[in-house]
Symmetry: C2
C-alpha cells in the first residue's frame, strides 16, 4: 500500500493524490517525546545503546507498569511487562508462547489481517468469525467456534477498521462466556487484546480495561499511534499477573523475544518512552477530522458507524462490490482499502490521519464514485 501511494504521488504530484490507505499518522509526535529524545541525544552516556535483558530496561518496564496500573485500575508490576518491537512483535511473542503447533486462534471480523500471518508464523491455525450486522463482537459465534484446540482469541478495541470501542457490557459477556468455556474444555483460553489505539478515543469515551474484567488476558500495544512514531517499532506486552501459567508465559515471551530475532525492543526508544508515560498526540485533531470526513460522506449518502476511536472510517460500499469500488476510487486518485482485506467484503476503509485539505478536496471524487455505483 505504501508503494502504491508512492507511485501515484510520483506521477500526479503529492497534492493530487488522496491517500487514505495507510494508518501512518500524520500528526507530529508530542513535544515531550521530541524533548526527551533530544536530551538523550545531547547527553549520551555509557551503555545508552547497549544490550539489556531481553525483556527490556527495568526502569522502562516499571514506568509502563505504573502507568498501566493507574490508567486501568489494576495492580501490575514491571515484571509482567515485556518491551517489544511494536505491537507486531508483542503479538508474535504472545502467540508463539501460548500456542502448541496446530492450536487455533480466533478473531472477530473485521480485523487486521496480519493476525493470520502472525498465527501461521508459529504453526497455528487462524480462524476469523464473520462480521455481524453491527460490526460488533459476536459472542455467540465466538462461543460456537471455541474447541479444545483454541489457545487464544485476539480482540482489537478501538477497532481497526471500524473505529468501534467494544463496550464494557460486551467485554463482560465475552469474559463470562470464556470462563464457562474454559471449564467446559478444560484449558485456558487467553484473550490477547491488541490495543494500539487505546489513547485515540473520541467524545470522552473510555475504552474498558479488559485486564480488569478477565484474568487470562494479555495486552499487546505500541506507541506507534499514541506518539506518531510507527517507524520506530516500540511497544510492549503485558501479562495479567493472575493468568494461568502467568510466570511461564512471561518467561516464554521473553525467550521468544530473543529467539524470534527481535532480541529486545530498540534501546533508545525504550529509554524515551519510559520517561513520558501517558504522553499522546492531540487526539482532538483526529476527532475533528473524523467529523469532517463523516459530514462530507453523509452529505453524499454514504452509510457508516460513527467511530469512537482510531483514525478509521469503515463505510458500506454502495452496491456491495468493495474491490470494484476501491478501484473506481483509485481512478479518482483516492486510495482506500477494500473491506475484504479485513474479512468484511461490502465495506471499505478510510484512514483519516491525513491533512484536512486531503479530506475536503477528496469529496468530489467520493461523490462521483458514489453516484456511479448507486446507478
Amino acid at each position: 500500500m505504501f508503494e502504491a501511494g508512492a507511485v501515484l504521488k510520483k506521477e500526479f504530484g503529492e497534492e493530487a493524490v488522496f491517500d487514505f490507505s495507510l494508518g501512518n499518522p500524520d500528526l507530529e509526535p508530542p513535544e515531550s517525546f521530541s524533548n526527551v529524545l533530544r536530551s538523550f541525544a545531547e547527553k549520551p552516556f555509557s551503555g545508552m545503546h547497549g544490550y539489556m535483558s531481553n525483556a527490556g530496561f527495568d526502569e522502562t518496564r516499571d514506568a509502563v507498569a505504573s502507568f498501566l496500573s493507574l490508567e486501568q485500575g489494576v495492580s501490575i508490576t514491571g515484571s509482567h511487562i515485556i518491551m517489544t518491537c511494536g505491537a507486531g512483535g508483542a503479538l508474535n511473542i504472545a502467540l508463539k508462547t501460548l500456542m502448541n503447533p496446530g492450536d487455533r486462534v480466533l478473531a472477530q471480523a473485521p480485523c487486521f489481517m496480519e493476525y493470520k500471518f502472525y498465527t501461521e508464523n508459529h504453526s497455528g491455525r487462524f480462524e476469523m468469525i464473520p462480521p455481524n450486522e453491527d460490526l460488533d463482537l459476536d459472542i455467540d459465534a465466538l462461543e460456537r467456534a471455541i474447541d479444545r484446540r483454541t489457545a487464544a482469541i485476539i480482540i482489537n478495541s478501538p477497532n481497526n477498521p471500524t473505529g468501534r470501542v467494544y463496550s464494557e457490557k460486551t467485554i463482560r459477556e465475552l469474559s463470562s462466556m470464556l470462563e464457562r468455556k474454559e471449564r467446559e474444555i478444560g484449558r485456558a483460553v487467553y484473550l490477547i487484546c491488541d490495543e494500539p489505539y487505546r489513547k485515540i478515543a473520541f467524545d470522552g469515551v473510555t475504552v474498558p480495561s479488559v485486564l480488569r474484567l478477565y484474568r487470562n488476558t494479555l495486552v499487546a500495544t505500541s506507541y506507534s499511534k499514541d506518539l506518531s512514531i510507527p517507524g520506530e517499532r516500540i511497544g510492549w506486552l503485558a501479562v495479567h499477573p493472575e493468568a494461568d501459567d502467568s510466570e511461564n508465559i512471561v518467561n516464554g515471551a521473553v525467550l521468544c523475544n530473543r529467539i524470534l530475532g527481535y532480541v529486545n525492543a530498540p534501546a533508545l526508544m525504550q529509554r524515551v518512552v519510559g520517561k513520558i508515560p501517558g504522553a499522546a498526540v492531540d487526539v482532538s485533531r483526529y476527532q475533528s477530522r473524523r467529523d469532517m470526513m463523516m459530514e462530507g460522506l453523509s452529505a453524499i449518502g454514504y452509510e457508516f458507524q460513527k467511530p469512537s476511536g482510531t483514525f478509521y472510517l469503515f463505510p458500506k460500499v454502495p452496491g456491495g462490490d468493495d474491490l470494484a469500488f476501491v478501484d473506481a476510487l483509485k481512478d479518482e486518485r483516492i486510495l482506500t482499502v477494500p473491506g475484504r482485506g479485513f474479512g468484511a467484503p461490502g465495506y471499505f476503509r478510510i484512514a483519516f490521519c491525513v491533512p484536512e485539505r486531503t479530506i475536503t478536496d477528496s469529496m468530489k471524487g467520493f461523490n462521483r464514485v458514489f453516484r456511479k455505483f448507486m446507478g
Copy 2:
C-alpha cells in the same frame, strides 16, 4: 547470561565481577554516530519517525549498497538491500524466505546457537557439522551433509566464538564444492553469511568477500558491533543480484519483514546509519585487549588460536570438561560461556569487550582454576 551477570554484580559489586560472558561491546559509539543522532534529534522533520516501505528508506538502502559495492568490489544497488531488525532479523527473514517446511540448514560448529532457533522458527531442521581440529570450515564434512532438502548453509566470519576469519582459499573451496553439489542435487544451496564482525578484524587482515566468490549468497549483518549499538536492533540483508530467484528472494524477504512482525527496521536508526557508511569504533582498542588477554592466558598455560577478528577468544579447557570449568571460573566471579553452547565441548568462550582492568584483575582467578584443572 545478562541476568546472571547482573545478579552477581548486585551481590559483590561491579568491580568484583569479571564478566566475559556477553558480546555487549563496551566501547562508546563513534563520534560520527552520536553527532548524526544529535543532529536528527535537534531538527526533527515531518515523518521522521513514520512508516516507510517494509524494505527500509530508499536513501539508506542506497547508501548501504554504495558502501558495500566499494568495500567488497561487487556491484549491488539499493534494491537488493533490505533494512532489518539487526542481524537476528536479517537471518530470520532470510531463512523464512529460503526454506520450505522441513528443509535443512547447515552450519559449521563452533557457531552461534541461535541459528538453530532461527531455523526452527520457520519449520526447518538445523544441523551442525561437528568442529574439526583447526576449528576451521570442514568442506568435506559440509559436502557429505548436503542433500536435496538442504536449503542453506550459514557461515560466520569473523567467527563467534573462535575469532577466526575464513581465508579466501577456504571460501573458494566452499564455493566450488557448493556449485558442484547444486548441479548434483538440482537445487540452489544458498550461503547465508552472518557478518556482524566484518569490521572488527585485526593485524590488517582483510575479511574475504563471499559475495564476490559465490553467486547464491545472502549477507546478513548489523551495526551492533561496528557502532557499539547492539540494543538498537539495526542491520540489513543483502541478496546477490545474480542469485537464483534473486527478485523473488528480495520480495519474499521484504514480505517476511512485515509478516514476522518486525514490519521495518527502526526508522531513526535507519536514518542515522544511512549518513555514516563505513563508520566504526576504534578496532585497535579491541586488538590491544586481545593481546593483553592472550599474553595473560598464555603465560598461565592456556591454549588457543589467535583471533583475527571479533572480541572473542576460545581457549581449550584443561581436562576438557567445559561445564565444570566454567562453573569453577564462576566461583572466582569470572563469567564465560562453555564451548558446548557453540557446539564445541572442551572449549570455553571469553568475550574481551571489557575494560582493560577487568582483563588484568581476572588473571589470578584464571590461573587458580587452570592449576586446579591441570591438577
